[in-house]
Symmetry: C2
Subunit: 465 residues, 2 copies
Amino acid sequence: MSDPLAPVLERLDQDAALAVARLCDLLRIPSVSTDPAFKPDCRRAAEWLAAELSAIGFDAAVRETPGHPMVVGHSRAHPEGAPRLLYYGHYDVQPADPIELWESPPFEPVVIEAERGPRVVGRGAVDDKGQVMTWLEALRAWHAVHGSYPARITVLLEGEEESGSPSLNGFLEANREELAADVCLISDTGMWDIDTPAITTSLRGMVYSEVTLHGPSRDLHSGMYGGAVPNPINVLARLIAQLHDEQGRIQIPGFYDGIAEPSAERLAQWRELGFDESAFLAEVGLKTPAGEAGRSALERLWSRPTCDVNGIHGGYTGKGAKTVIPAHATAKISCRLVPGQDPKTVEAGIRRFFEERAPADCRVELTVHSASPAIEVPDRSPELTAALRGLDRVFDKTPVLIGCGGSIPVAGAIRRLLGFDSLLIGFGLEDDRVHSPNEKFELRCLHNGARAHAAILAELGKPST
Amino acid sequence: MSDPLAPVLERLDQDAALAVARLCDLLRIPSVSTDPAFKPDCRRAAEWLAAELSAIGFDAAVRETPGHPMVVGHSRAHPEGAPRLLYYGHYDVQPADPIELWESPPFEPVVIEAERGPRVVGRGAVDDKGQVMTWLEALRAWHAVHGSYPARITVLLEGEEESGSPSLNGFLEANREELAADVCLISDTGMWDIDTPAITTSLRGMVYSEVTLHGPSRDLHSGMYGGAVPNPINVLARLIAQLHDEQGRIQIPGFYDGIAEPSAERLAQWRELGFDESAFLAEVGLKTPAGEAGRSALERLWSRPTCDVNGIHGGYTGKGAKTVIPAHATAKISCRLVPGQDPKTVEAGIRRFFEERAPADCRVELTVHSASPAIEVPDRSPELTAALRGLDRVFDKTPVLIGCGGSIPVAGAIRRLLGFDSLLIGFGLEDDRVHSPNEKFELRCLHNGARAHAAILAELGKPST
C-alpha cells in the first residue's frame, strides 16, 4: 500500500495561497465574544465554518447554546471501526482594543513581509482562527485527495473561549455520546521556536475575577472630604499591593494548597531546552527578570501560579484634572493556576482576602468570570507517541514536550466530562502578539501546521495505534 | 442720611424669582473648561456675563487669554475716592460625568422642593455660577435702587478655574493696575450651616499630578508572560499603597516640610464650632472616621495635607474578561496642601517618590496639571470686620470664621501678584454635591447670599472703612 500522506502534503503545498485567502475571509468576521455588540458576527463566523466543513465531507451544523453557538461536524466517509478523533478549536477572538495601537485595522487582515517571510496580521490571526485553519486545511487536503478520512472525525468549534466558555460544560454533558472519541486534538498553543514543533503537556488553569470596592455613597469633592474619608482607589491599590509579598509570593489564603512541584524528569527536560530569558524579555522591551524569587523563568511560567491585575478603573479618567473621591473602584484580577490547585479554593481565598482586608465602611463586590484547573497530559501515551511520529515526519527538528503559561480549560473539561485526553499541538510563536494589537501568524507556521496535522492524522488513523 | 441698604434688600426680595430664572439661564450653558468639546460654550458663558454686567452699570468686556476668556467689568458710577473692591468668580464648571447618576440632565437646571425649601439642581448650581449670582444680584439691586455704587467696583470672571487656571497668573500680572483694589471678594466656599454665615480664613492648596507607569513595550498575554514580567497595574498599585503609612502619614519625601500647626486660638475656635463628624460621614453613607491618626476631623480637613487618587485606569476595562498585562497604567493624584508647604517641594517629592520606588524596567512619566499653595487670611482686618458686620445685619445667627479643605488658588495669586487679601464669603452647604452628580444650591442660600452681599457692600462702601 502506497503512503497516503505524500499526495496530501503535495496538495497542501499547491493549495497554500488559497489557504491564506480562506483564513483572511474568516479573520474579516469580527467575532469578539465578550462584547454583546458583536453577537451577530459570532454567529456569522459559526455559519462560515459549518459551510466549510460541509464542503469537505462533514455533516456539519450550527448548534445553539445559551450564548454564542457551537459548530459540530462529523465525517461522512471513514473505515468502520477506525480510531475516533475530536478536533476542538474556537472561532471567537479577543477584543481589539487598544485599537489606536494597530498598524492596520484589526478586522481587515493583511499579509506583510517580515524577517521570517510573509505573515498575516489581524485579530485572531493565530488565536485561534489561524490555528484552527492548520487542521481544517489538513482535513480539506486529505478529503480532496482521498475522498474519505482514515479516522472517524468529529469537529467541535466554540464561540465563547475568550469569554470564559460559559456554555461549554453544559454542551459537552448534553452531547457526551455524540462527541465521544479516543483523543482530542487542539491547536491553541505554541511551537518551541519557528523550526521546532512542540506538544504541550502542562498547562496553567485560571480564576478570573472582578473586584469592586465601594466606599462613600456618592462621588465626593476631594477638597471637602479628602483626608477624612476612605478613598476607594487608594484602598483598592493597597489591597492589590498586598496580593504579593516582597518575594513575589501570593498572599491569598490557601492559594498554594495542594500544589505539586514538577517531577525531576520534567524539570530536567525543561533545562535541556536552553530557554533564553534575556531574549524572551528583550522581545517585549524588558531587561530584568521579574517574578517569584528562587525559580527559573520556565518554572515561573509553566509551573508556578500567578496573580495579575488585567484591568483597573475608578474615578475621573478623562483629560485634565477632576478632584473627585469616587464612590467605587474596580479591578479585574486573574490567577493562573498550576496542577494541584483547586479553583474553588482559590476563588474562596480571593473573596476572603478582599473581605478580610477591606477597611471599615468599604464594601467588596466580587464576580468570578471563569475558573478552571491546570492540566497535565501524560508524557507517554499511544496517541502522544503517534503525534510525535507525525511531527517528526514533516519537521527537520525533533519535536519537544513543553509547558505553557496560558490556560486551555477545554482540555480539562473534555477529560472530566467526556473521559479522554487532549493532544495540545500548536503552531504559534512567542512573538505572535496574542491578545495584543497587531496579532500575527507566520504563514510558514500556518503551512507547516497544516502539513503536520496531515501527518498526525496519518499516524493516528493507522489501525495499529 | 437714610439707610441705603434697606431699599436694596427690599428690591432683592421682590426680584427673587427673576434671580432664579437668570441663574438657570447661565446654568444652561455647559461651560466645562477641562474638555475641549465645550470651548464654544465657555465663550458663550463669558459673553452672557459681560452682557449682564453691561446692563447694571459696568463697562464690561470679554477679554482674550491663551485659553478660555476672562470677563472684566468696571463700575461706571461711584463716589470719587471710594474704597476699591474686586469681585472674583468663575463661570466654568466641572465635567458632568458620571452622567448616568444624574436624576435630571446636568445642563437643564430644575427647581425642586426639598426638606429645606426649593433648590436648583444642575452642574454649576453652586460651584460657582450660583455663588457668582449672589453678588451679581446684590450689585444689580443696588444699581437698580441707587443708580450708582458706593464703591469703585471691578469684576473679574475666570473660565479656567476647574482646570487649574493656566491663564490666570499671566492675566493678573498683565493687568495689575486695572485690577488694583483694597480687597477682593470671592464666593466659592461654604456657610457653616444653612442658618450660620461664615468667612473662610484658612484654605488648602493643591498639587495635581498624573503618573503613568510604563512596563513592557506592548500589551502582553497574561498566560504567556504572567509571573515573569512586571505588571504595570500591580506596580502602580504597590506604589500608590506606599503613599501612606499605617498611621495615614504621607510618605512623599519632604512632604511635611515647613508645615505650621494652626494656632491654639484657631484650634479653640474650631472646637467651639461643635462639628458633628458622625453626621458629616452619615451624609455620604459612611460610619467610621478615616484619615491621619490623632487628629480631629476638622483638623484633618482644614489643617492637614492629603494625597488622594482621583482617577486610575489601565488594561482592559470593558465588559467581561481579557487576560492582558498592559504596557502601562495611569493614576491622577492630587495632594491638598496646608500653610507652610511649598508646591514646588511637593511636586519634586512626588517625582522622587515614584522614580525611586519604581522597579527595574518600569519607567515613570509624570505630568503636573496644577500647583498652588495653601492660604491663610488674617483673622482681623478692617475689611474682615466690616464684612462680619454686614453678615450680622442680615442673618439671625452670628457669623463664624472657618477653614476649608478645598483650594481657592486665585486668593493666593491675588495676594502674590496684586498685593491685597481676599474675603472668602460663600453660601454653599456641605451637601451641595459640588463636583458630583445632582449638584444643587438651596434657593434660600442664593437669596440670603445676595442679601448678605448687599449688606457687605454697604459696610465696605462706608468711607470710614
